[in-house]
């Protein structure tokens, strides 16, 4: 379709096109299926939208959640799952559910709830991309939303304590990573040689965990020991995101040096 598709999402850093998992899922799927997506990165002007990122804007409508965006792209004939069999399609749904149930709480915790990570990495990064005075409010709200989600889905009523569930969510996340690693094995993508929706989801959730430098990253440490998943993320970054990556890493290298006062040696992936 010739109509322009515009995606507004959070920007990139640490060698990634986007630091936000859901935005990354949509961007990866668009690359895999060949959809001509114009990416509009949210910056700290008031014109950028902050609502329910990522948001796909077409001429007629505005679509907000990754699942719905992917459905829309498939209806527009940008289908990355064309060659999958019925059983593989069913497997895709199942593994996506597994990632959302087991891996997502721990990823949310690492990014938004763990105080060291949140105050030194996540909050400054997001605050620098949101105009004042929203930058004081929105990151806090996102963090509370993440904590809420973890507690309501994993905590036990009626008191809902984080500490009770922390160990469990990390254990579940590590098990999930092990399962994904077993499933991937030595092949390049999850279903044969061409990437599909499942690859987009796995990449979207694993890449930020893999690349962003956290002070307290026990899940990161576990992921780095699973070499085939790291190779998977690196392959996709090299093959599909290389051209835009140069721009991202240059732009963000300076930003990080200013923000954190350190040099990140993991930046160069090109």
């Amino acid at each position: 379709m010739a109509a322009p598709l515009e995606l507004s999402c959070w920007g990139g850093g640490w060698g990634l096109p986007s630091v936000h998992s859901e935005s990354l899922v949509v961007m990866a799927y668009a690359k895999f299926s060949g959809a001509p997506l114009k990416v509009k990165v949210i910056d700290n002007t008031w014109r950028g939208s902050r609502g329910d990122v990522p948001i796909l804007t077409t001429e007629d409508n505005i679509i907000s959640q990754p699942a719905k965006i992917l459905n829309f792209l498939r209806k527009q004939k940008y289908n990355a799952d064309y060659e999958l069999s019925a059983k593989q399609g069913a497997d895709t749904l199942a593994y996506i559910a597994l990632i959302e149930e087991k891996l997502l709480p721990a990823v949310l915790h690492t990014f938004w709830v763990e105080s060291d990570n949140y105050f030194s990495v996540t909050r400054p990064w997001f605050a620098s991309r949101i105009p004042f005075p929203l930058s004081l409010i929105l990151p806090g709200r996102m963090s509370k939303g993440a904590l809420n989600r973890i507690l309501l889905t994993r905590g036990e009523p009626p008191l809902y304590h984080l500490r009770e569930v922390e160990a469990q969510i990390y254990r579940d996340a590590k098990e999930c990573l092990n399962l994904l690693s077993n499933r991937l094995g030595t092949s390049q993508f999850f279903f044969g040689d061409t990437p599909s929706t499942l690859d987009a989801y796995v990449f979207g959730f694993l890449a930020p965990l893999y690349k962003v430098r956290f002070p307290k990253g026990q899940l990161q440490g576990h992921l780095q020991r699973l070499s085939n998943l790291c190779r998977f993320c690196d392959d996709i970054l090299h093959s599909y995101f290389r051209l835009s990556l140069g721009a991202f890493s240059c732009m963000n290298r300076n930003q990080q040096q200013i923000d954190l006062g350190e040099v990140h040696s993991h930046d160069s992936t090109t």
Partner: protein, 378 residues
């Protein structure tokens, strides 16, 4: 009660642990802000870390027997405790008395889980499966709801598949008796375990397992499909019961509070509805319409049907816990009468799923002289 004592057994009482560390009552403060407040108390971290082994030995006897829902869910480990106490990576949250659930996940996953599983098997395998094991659920005729019935049926099917005898007991307060707040739960020997996941692990520790014959990839698939059922089917059932106005008004409120006198029945029903709606909003289902939910159910059933294909069970010849879970949910959906039949129509579209349910019902329930539970709302 000191029979389960081993060096480094997790201290049983969270209250005692936190009081001893001088941190006050954590439950008194709001849950959401505590993780920020803890950032300001680094001094307690160092002393807590070093006193762990001493703490573990001096604090009372184990609460393992009273709360093994926790035992099975989090697999507390004694050996890792001693390692973790000296571990430099102990974080603030770690050190504040949540020892029984914590330490394992700090950089040594493989060793920790081996020790954990050895401990769990030791405790659980000391006794064989008793004859008087009971499963508790809510009252079948008047009180139990769609989602709870599905969960209970799944556990019953699983235990039947493992050939373990179980007696089903209906109690109005089953939800409050359960260690995790969810039904069903089983009472085996002197341990209480709730929910299918922990029950499967507990039964495995006793030496019965349905999924031993699967290889790693198949186990991953099985877990993924179980999450799919939990994510889509269970959430859709909860949505239908508690967020759809017609069903809530006609069926759910009346059933949920039926054992209690006025006004308690209304209060409990509203409280539960508020909780479930909060959860739906947090996971993004708050804005979904009923049609979207039914579409999701359809997608899920399609995925299950494609995975099942023409095989008798999901992993060829032998049933696994996935079969039990799918049977529990699908059978309950098919046999429960709601305000409209849309949900069961979605399932009836797939004939191999219907045949699957019929097969399991015949083989594991009718053949053994038990009548499978079905709920009819009045």
């Amino acid at each position: 009660m000191a029979s389960g004592r081993e060096p480094g057994t997790p201290p049983p009482s969270r209250w005692a642990a936190t009081r001893r560390l001088g941190l006050g009552n954590p439950r008194a403060r709001g849950g959401a802000r505590r993780w920020r407040q803890r950032k300001r108390s680094p001094s307690t971290v160092s002393c807590a870390g070093s006193s762990w082994p001493g703490l573990a030995v001096t604090l009372g006897s184990s609460r393992l027997h009273r709360r093994p829902g926790g035992l099975c869910e989090s697999e507390p480990q004694p050996a890792p405790r001693l390692v973790a106490a000296g571990d430099a990576g102990v974080s603030e949250e770690d050190a504040e008395g949540r020892e029984e659930r914590k330490p394992r996940a700090r950089g040594r996953p493989a060793a920790m889980s081996l020790a954990a599983e050895a401990f769990v098997s030791q405790i659980a395998a000391t006794e064989p499966w008793p004859e008087n094991a009971t499963l508790y659920q809510q009252l079948k005729g008047e009180q139990i709801l769609l989602s709870d019935n599905a969960a209970s049926l799944a556990v019953q099917a699983f235990l039947q598949m493992c050939n373990l005898p179980i007696k089903v007991v209906c109690r109005a307060n089953a939800e409050y008796m359960s260690p995790s707040g969810k039904v069903p739960f089983i009472h085996v020997g002197n341990q209480v375990v709730s929910e299918l996941g922990p029950i499967v692990q507990f039964v495995k520790a006793k030496g019965h397992s349905l999924s031993d014959g699967l290889d790693e990839v198949q186990k991953a698939e099985m877990k993924a499909y179980m999450e799919l059922v939990n994510n889509m089917l269970l959430t859709a059932e909860l949505y239908l019961q508690w967020c759809d106005e017609a069903t809530v008004g006609e069926i759910t409120h009346a059933r949920y509070g039926s054992p209690y006198p006025w006004p308690l029945n209304h209060i409990l029903a509203y409280q539960k509805q508020w909780e479930v709606r909060r959860k739906m909003k947090a996971i993004g289902w708050g804005n979904k319409t009923l049609d979207q939910v039914l579409e999701d159910v359809d997608q899920c059933c399609q995925a299950l049907s494609q995975r099942l294909g023409t095989q008798p069970y999901f992993f060829n010849k032998q049933p696994t816990e996935l079969d039990a879970l799918v049977f529990g949910h699908l059978y309950t959906i098919l046999t429960t009468q709601l305000t409209n039949d849309e949900l069961s129509e979605k399932v009836k579209n797939y004939s191999n799923l219907l045949a699957f349910c019929r097969r399991i019902e015949q083989h594991y329930f009718e053949d053994r002289g038990k009548v499978s539970s079905s709920v009819k709302s009045s």
